[in-house]
């Protein structure tokens, strides 16, 4: 069934075949990034906006472990605190698109008929708009702030979740245990919430883990364009943007480090999500 396969972007397919060491490394990267984001205020050696113009563009030293950017701000502190914004955004995208996507998918798959047609067609309509363009449009209208691009991307990612959920629900509702609970007198809502959704949740959550990586990349792209995240907030995409001029002056470190952080995190979430989906698929449910 191709409909129940996870949706991935071109080029990411090869990661799906990840072997054990890569999976372990990816898990470690995910854990490290999450820990960094949670503990950032205690780990960061400086205030991320503290300017030391005398040390601007300095390389790594005992004072500044990862160097200083063109504005004289400590790169390590900005990377650590940037992890917060860079992860919080995708988290919001994934949380909203997963919840709403499951709700839409379950209703469409369970009820069927005209409601299914209406929901499926309207989510397919969202597919027609590139998510980034939608986000740019909404940010252009609403101005600065993380909320607007997060909501725009959540809407853009919703169809991936709802389409997967719908196809899973279509298969799940035909299983005899659903009929058994119906005969027992349980309401449709109760059967969906207590039995159908928990049984399909692992596959949907694996898709959401993969989506997390994509959303991170999209949000970093947006803040690189100067959209969304306010100018002084530390954010990886924004740091790449700020570091551009430094690269031209021959000091690439302050731009390359956040690039690395983005790439590593996206790949790590992809590998972990794919691996999770594989395990769920292979596990004998009986």
């Amino acid at each position: 069934m191709s409909a129940t396969a996870l949706t991935r972007r071109p080029g990411f397919g090869r990661l799906a075949a990840a072997r054990a060491p890569l999976h372990l490394i990816s898990l470690a990267v995910v854990a490290l990034v999450v820990a960094a984001a949670l503990l950032a205020p205690w780990l960061a050696p400086y205030d991320p906006n503290q300017v030391d113009l005398g040390a601007a563009l300095a390389g790594p030293s005992a004072d500044h472990l990862l160097g200083v950017d063109a504005a004289g701000r400590d790169t390590l502190a900005r990377l650590l605190l940037g992890a917060r914004t860079s992860l919080l955004g995708p988290l919001g995208v994934v949380a909203f698109s997963t919840l709403a996507g499951i709700a839409v998918g379950v209703v469409a798959g369970w009820r069927g008929g005209w409601l299914d047609s209406a929901l499926s067609r309207s989510t397919e309509l969202v597919f027609a708009f590139p998510g980034m363009l939608l986000a740019v449009l909404i940010v252009a209208v609403s101005g600065e702030g993380l909320l607007a691009p997060v909501i725009a991307l959540a809407v853009a990612y919703l169809p991936y979740v709802s389409r997967l959920t719908r196809s899973l629900v279509l298969a799940e509702r035909e299983r005899p245990y659903v009929a058994a609970h119906r005969v027992q007198g349980h309401s449709a809502l109760q059967i969906c919430l207590r039995h159908v959704v928990p049984n399909i949740a692992p596959v949907v959550l694996a898709q959401s883990a993969v989506n997390f990586g994509y959303a991170l990349m999209d949000l970093a792209g947006l803040s690189f364009l100067g959209l969304g995240v306010p100018a002084l907030t530390p954010d990886w995409g924004r740091m790449v943007f700020d570091g551009q001029t430094a690269i031209q002056h021959g000091y690439p470190l302050s731009a390359i480090l956040p690039c690395l952080a983005i790439v590593l995190t996206v790949v790590a979430f992809n590998v972990v999500g794919e691996r999770w989906a594989d395990q769920v698929a292979r596990r004998d449910p009986r």
Binding site: R175, P176, Y177, A179, A180, H181, R182, V183, Q184, G185, H186, S187, R194, H195, P198, N199, D284, P285, R286
Partner: protein, 277 residues
């Protein structure tokens, strides 16, 4: 012609089905089917796959809707889909069902105890659930150790016992058993059939046994109806029908059971003759 039904109003009948029909496109899966089940009785519906027996069962329990005809339980007719919680619960207490495949009819994520508790909580919210669960497990011959097990840790026979316990938890008037032992080993089949006979003797629940297996019909039913192409071709007390079948199809079913001296070619010829006629 089969005996006409004696009507739902007659006392002593827990389940009465009259003139049930259901078509899927051009196929008449169930065609003017009528039968009654006396209180505490056991009725078998026999037929080959495609004879409409499973569709009949699904209409009786309310998983499918009939095009025409009526199902009456304890004198109360059921019309259309259940509306509202009270009606849903009342119908569940009228008829429960045990499905063919115990591997699929239990939620794989839910332990035996949680499954029974969920049902008890719905139907008897004020009962002592722990005691009732122990009672039910004992009734179907499962130890209390099975309570914490997930379905995948149980054998097929044990799972079917759990499914039976779950149906019993509702305390229904009628239990529909749709090929309930077909997926089990022969020795386990016998155990479960014995268990079902004991439960009927203890509780007085009426059984509607859907099966293709004449051995099962012989051992657990009092009366039997034989279905072919959606219609009832023969009905009567099990012993009589099996000893002296009237309809050629019933004879064919009986002769199709493998035994010493069995001749498959002759059965095939008889089958062709029946299909032509």
């Amino acid at each position: 012609m089969p005996d006409r039904p004696t009507g739902s109003a007659e006392p002593g009948n827990v389940l009465a089905v009259t003139g049930l029909s259901r078509a899927f496109g051009a196929v008449r899966a169930v065609d003017d089917v009528s039968f009654t089940l006396s209180a505490g009785g056991s009725l078998g519906i026999v037929g080959e796959s495609g004879s409409g027996k499973t569709t009949t069962a699904r209409i009786v329990v309310g998983l499918e809707q009939a095009d025409t005809g009526e199902v009456t339980v304890r004198g109360r007719p059921r019309h259309g889909r259940a509306r509202g919680r009270a009606e849903r619960l009342a119908r569940a207490r009228e008829i429960q069902m045990v499905f063919q495949d115990p591997y699929l009819s239990l939620d794989p994520r839910i332990t035996v105890e949680a499954a029974l508790r969920e049902t008890l909580r719905l139907h008897f919210p004020h009962l002592d659930h722990a005691r009732r669960i122990a009672e039910l497990l004992d009734q179907v011959g499962l130890g209390t150790r099975a309570a914490d097990a997930l379905p995948r840790h149980l054998s097929g026979g044990q799972r079917q016992r759990v499914a039976i316990a779950r149906a019993l938890a509702v305390e229904p008037a009628v239990m529909v058993l749709d090929e309930a032992v077909a997926a089990l080993d022969v020795s386990v089949q016998a155990q479960v059939l014995n268990l079902l006979a004991d439960i009927r003797a203890d509780t007085g629940i009426g059984y509607l046994f859907i099966t293709h297996d004449l051995g099962v019909v012989r051992s657990v039913t009092d009366e039997v109806v034989v279905m072919r192409h959606g219609r009832i071709v023969e009905a009567g007390p099990t012993a009589e029908v099996l000893a002296a079948p009237d309809h050629p199809y019933t004879r064919l079913l009986l002769e199709s059971v493998p035994r010493p001296g069995w001749d498959p070619d002759r059965i095939a010829a008889a089958r062709r003759a029946l299909a032509a006629g």
